[in-house]
C-alpha cells in the first residue's frame, strides 16, 4: 500500500470552551481526491487551518509525507508543498491576474533585493523565467485572455479558478480546496469538477476538498470523511457515505415517506 501524503493523528482544536474539532484522524494517499463534508460549523475549515499552520492543534499531530508538520508556520508549510484556496475568495485586490499568480513564485526567487534594485541579471533573468512560467500556467488553464485584467474584475467562476491556479503556482503536491463550488450553478459545478480532475492528473497532485455541493463531492471524490460538531461521523467511498444512516440523519436529510 502507498504511504499517505497527509495524515492527521487524533487532532483536536479548542477555542476556549468550544471544541471545534475533536480527535480527527484522516489519511490521504498520493493522487487521491478526498472530500471533507459536514453541516455548517462542523469544523471543516478549522481542519484546513490546522493543516496549513494557521492554527496549531491543541492536541494531536499532523504528518506530511511522513514528517511532522504540527505547528509549523503557514509559509513554511506552503514551501513544503501544501497549497490551499479559501472559502471566501482571497485574491490580491490591487493586482492583475498575472501578478496574483506571480506572488506564489516570490519565495522561489533566487536573488536578493539589492540585485533587484540594481537590476542585475541574476534577478532580471530569474524574474523573467518566473513570468514565463506563470503565463504558461495561465494558458494551460484557459485564463490567458485575462492575464492583465485586475483580478477582482473577473467573473466569480474565474476568480475561483484563479485562486486554484495561484495555489498551483506554489508547486504543491497536496492541494486543499475550501468550498471551490460555493455559489456556482450546476453547469459551472460540472466544469469545476472536470477542472479539478484535470489538474490532479496533469500536475500529479493530491486533492483534499471541503464541499457542500453533493453532486460535486459524490462526482469526483474517491473517499469522503464526514464531520459533525467536530466529531468524525463516517468515512468511506461515496456509495458507502450515501447509504450511511448516521450521515443521512445528520447531514443529507431524511425523507419521511407516508405509508
Amino acid at each position: 500500500m502507498n504511504k499517505p501524503i497527509l495524515q492527521t493523528d487524533n487532532i483536536s482544536m479548542q477555542f476556549g470552551g468550544l471544541t471545534a474539532v475533536s480527535e480527527l484522524s484522516i489519511q490521504v494517499l498520493p493522487g487521491e481526491i478526498v472530500g471533507l463534508i459536514g453541516p455548517n460549523g462542523a469544523g471543516k475549515t478549522t481542519v484546513f487551518n490546522m493543516i496549513t499552520g494557521v492554527y496549531t492543534p491543541t492536541l494531536g499531530k499532523i504528518y506530511y509525507q511522513g514528517n511532522e508538520i504540527t505547528g509549523l508556520k503557514p509559509d513554511r508549510i506552503t514551501s513544503l508543498g501544501v497549497a490551499r484556496t479559501f472559502q471566501n475568495i482571497r485574491l490580491f485586490e490591487s493586482m492583475s491576474v498575472l501578478e496574483n499568480v506571480m506572488i506564489s513564485k516570490h519565495v522561489r526567487l533566487n536573488a536578493s533585493l539589492a540585485e533587484a534594485v540594481l537590476g542585475l541579471p541574476r534577478y532580471t533573468n530569474n524574474r523573467k523565467a518566473q513570468k514565463e512560467e506563470c503565463i504558461e500556467l495561465l494558458k494551460r488553464v484557459e485564463l490567458e485572455d485575462v492575464i492583465n485584467e485586475p483580478a477582482v474584475s473577473l467573473p466569480y467562476g474565474k476568480q475561483r479558478r484563479l485562486e486554484i491556479v495561484r495555489a498551483l503556482a506554489t508547486n504543491p503536491q497536496l492541494l486543499l480546496l475550501d468550498e471551490p463550488a460555493a455559489g456556482m450553478n450546476p453547469n459551472e459545478s460540472i466544469e469545476l469538477m472536470q477542472f479539478i480532475r484535470r489538474i490532479r492528473d496533469e500536475f500529479h497532485i493530491t486533492v483534499l476538498m471541503i464541499e457542500h455541493h453533493m453532486e460535486v463531492v459524490m462526482g469526483i471524490c474517491e473517499r469522503i470523511y464526514v464531520l459533525d460538531y467536530g466529531l468524525t461521523l463516517a468515512q468511506g467511498n461515496p456509495e458507502q457515505i450515501q447509504n450511511n444512516e448516521k450521515v443521512i440523519e445528520a447531514y443529507l436529510g431524511v425523507v419521511e415517506l407516508d405509508a
Binding site: T52, V54, K73, P74, D75, T78, S79, A83, R84, F86, R90, L91, F92, E93, S94, M95, E99, M102, I103, S104, K105, H106, V107, L109, L113, A116, V117, G119, Y123, R127, Q130, R166, A167, T170
Partner: protein, 355 residues
C-alpha cells in the same frame, strides 16, 4: 513594444534633464529663503515616499517616522560638528571623549545617519511588528517618543534638551534634490520588484500572502527597516539644512505632518507623495500671507492672526478627506503610458476635426 520602451526611456532622460535644468535655474535665480523652502520640500518628499512604502504599500500603520528622523539627525550632527564647537556647545556636561574629536565628511555622516536609523527600525520593528493596525500605530508612536526621551537624557552624547548648534550647513538645491530623486528611484525599483508585490500582497490580504509562502514578519520588517533608513536620511539632511537640532523638533506632531502628505498625495502613490510634499511645504509658506493684517475691500479689517494658515490647512485636509478620500493620486502613478495614450487620443480627435 520595443519602440515604446525606447520612447519611454528617452522621455525619462528628458524628464530628468528638465528637472536638472530646473534645479540649475533655481540655484541661480532664487533667493536663499526660496531655496531653503524647496530644500525642505525635498526632505518632505523623501519622508512622504518612505512613509508611503510602509503605510501605503505594505499596509503597516506606523507613526514612528519622527523618531527615526531624530536618530538620523543626531548621528550626522555629532559626527560632522567641529571639535571646537563641540567644546563650546556641550557646556552642561562635556561630550563623551570618544566623540569629542571626531569630524567626518558630510556624505558618509549622512549615510550613517540613515543606517543608524535603519538599525533602530530593525530593533523596534522586531517586537512592534507583531502588532497590527491601531495597536502598531500606538506602539511605534511610543517607541518614537522613547527615542526622543533617550536623546534628551543622554547628555554626554546628545547635549540633552539644549540641542546641538553649528552643524555644517548645506545650502545647495542639488544635494537635497539629488537625495530625493535617488530615494524615489530606489523605492520605485523596490516597489516594481518581486518584493514590492510581496509587500502589496501583505497589504491586500495577509492570510492569502502567507498561504502563498511569503514570510509575513520578515517582509514587514524589511519594509519597515527600509522606511526607517530613508527617514533617518531625511532627518540627517534636515540637520544640515537647519544647522541645529534639539529633541523638541521631533515631536510626534512632525509625524502627522508626514502623514498629511501621504494621505493628501494618496496612500499607495509615490508620485502623489512627491506632489503633496511640494504642495504642503510651499503652501505652508505662501499661506503666511493670511497671518498678516488684512484689509478686505476697506470694509472689514482683520488683524494678523498667528496660526491662521494652520486653520486653512486643516480645512483643506478636511475637504480632501470628505470629498476626495483617495487623495490627489489615489493609488495611481504618474507614468508615460497614460500620458502617451492621452496624446494619441488628442491627436486622433484633432485629425477627426480636420477631416
Amino acid at each position: 513594444m520595443d519602440e515604446q520602451l525606447r520612447t519611454k526611456f528617452i522621455l525619462n532622460i528628458v524628464f530628468l534633464l528638465a528637472v536638472a535644468l530646473l534645479i540649475y535655474w533655481g540655484q541661480h535665480n532664487l533667493n536663499n529663503f526660496e531655496i531653503r523652502i524647496l530644500n525642505l520640500a525635498a526632505i518632505f518628499a523623501i519622508l512622504g515616499v518612505s512613509l508611503n512604502l510602509v503605510l501605503g504599500f505594505t499596509g503597516m500603520f506606523s507613526l514612528g517616522h519622527a523618531g527615526f528622523m531624530c536618530v538620523g539627525a543626531y548621528t550626522t550632527a555629532i559626527l560632522t560638528m567641529s571639535p571646537g564647537s563641540k567644546a563650546i556647545i556641550y557646556f552642561m556636561e562635556p561630550i563623551h571623549p570618544v566623540l569629542a574629536n571626531i569630524q567626518w565628511p558630510l556624505l558618509p555622516a549622512i549615510l550613517l545617519g540613515g543606517i543608524t536609523a535603519a538599525v533602530f527600525g530593525f530593533v523596534i520593528g522586531f517586537p512592534a511588528l507583531r502588532l497590527r493596525d491601531d495597536y502598531l500605530a500606538i506602539a511605534t508612536l511610543g517607541f518614537s517618543e522613547i527615542i526622543r526621551i533617550i536623546v534628551t537624557n543622554t547628555i554626554t552624547i546628545t547635549n540633552g534638551a539644549l540641542g546641538l548648534k553649528n552643524i555644517p550647513s548645506i545650502k545647495s538645491l542639488w544635494i537635497y534634490w539629488l537625495a530625493a530623486i535617488l530615494t524615489i528611484l530606489v523605492i520605485k525599483r523596490i516597489l516594481n520588484s518581486s518584493w514590492g508585490y510581496a509587500f502589496r500582497a501583505i497589504r491586500d490580504n495577509e492570510i492569502a500572502a502567507e498561504a502563498m509562502g511569503i514570510n509575513i514578519f520578515k517582509h514587514k520588517l524589511l519594509s519597515f527597516t527600509i522606511g526607517a533608513f530613508f527617514a533617518g536620511l531625511a532627518g540627517a539632511l534636515m540637520a544640515h539644512l537647519i544647522t541645529s537640532v534639539d529633541p523638541t523638533m521631533f515631536r510626534f506632531l512632525f509625524t502627522f505632518q508626514i502623514l498629511l502628505i501621504v494621505v493628501l498625495g494618496g496612500m499607495g502613490s509615490i508620485s502623489g507623495s512627491v506632489v503633496a510634499a511640494l504642495i504642503v511645504t510651499i503652501g505652508m509658506e505662501v499661506l503666511r500671507i493670511v497671518e498678516q493684517p488684512m484689509d478686505l475691500f476697506g470694509v472689514v479689517e482683520i488683524p494678523g492672526l498667528p496660526g491662521m494658515r494652520m486653520v486653512i490647512f486643516s480645512i483643506l485636509l478636511l475637504l480632501v478627506i470628505l470629498f476626495y478620500r483617495q487623495g490627489l493620486m489615489g493609488t495611481r502613478e504618474f507614468n508615460w503610458d497614460w500620458l502617451l495614450n492621452k496624446l494619441d487620443r488628442l491627436k486622433d480627435r484633432m485629425r477627426g476635426e480636420a477631416a
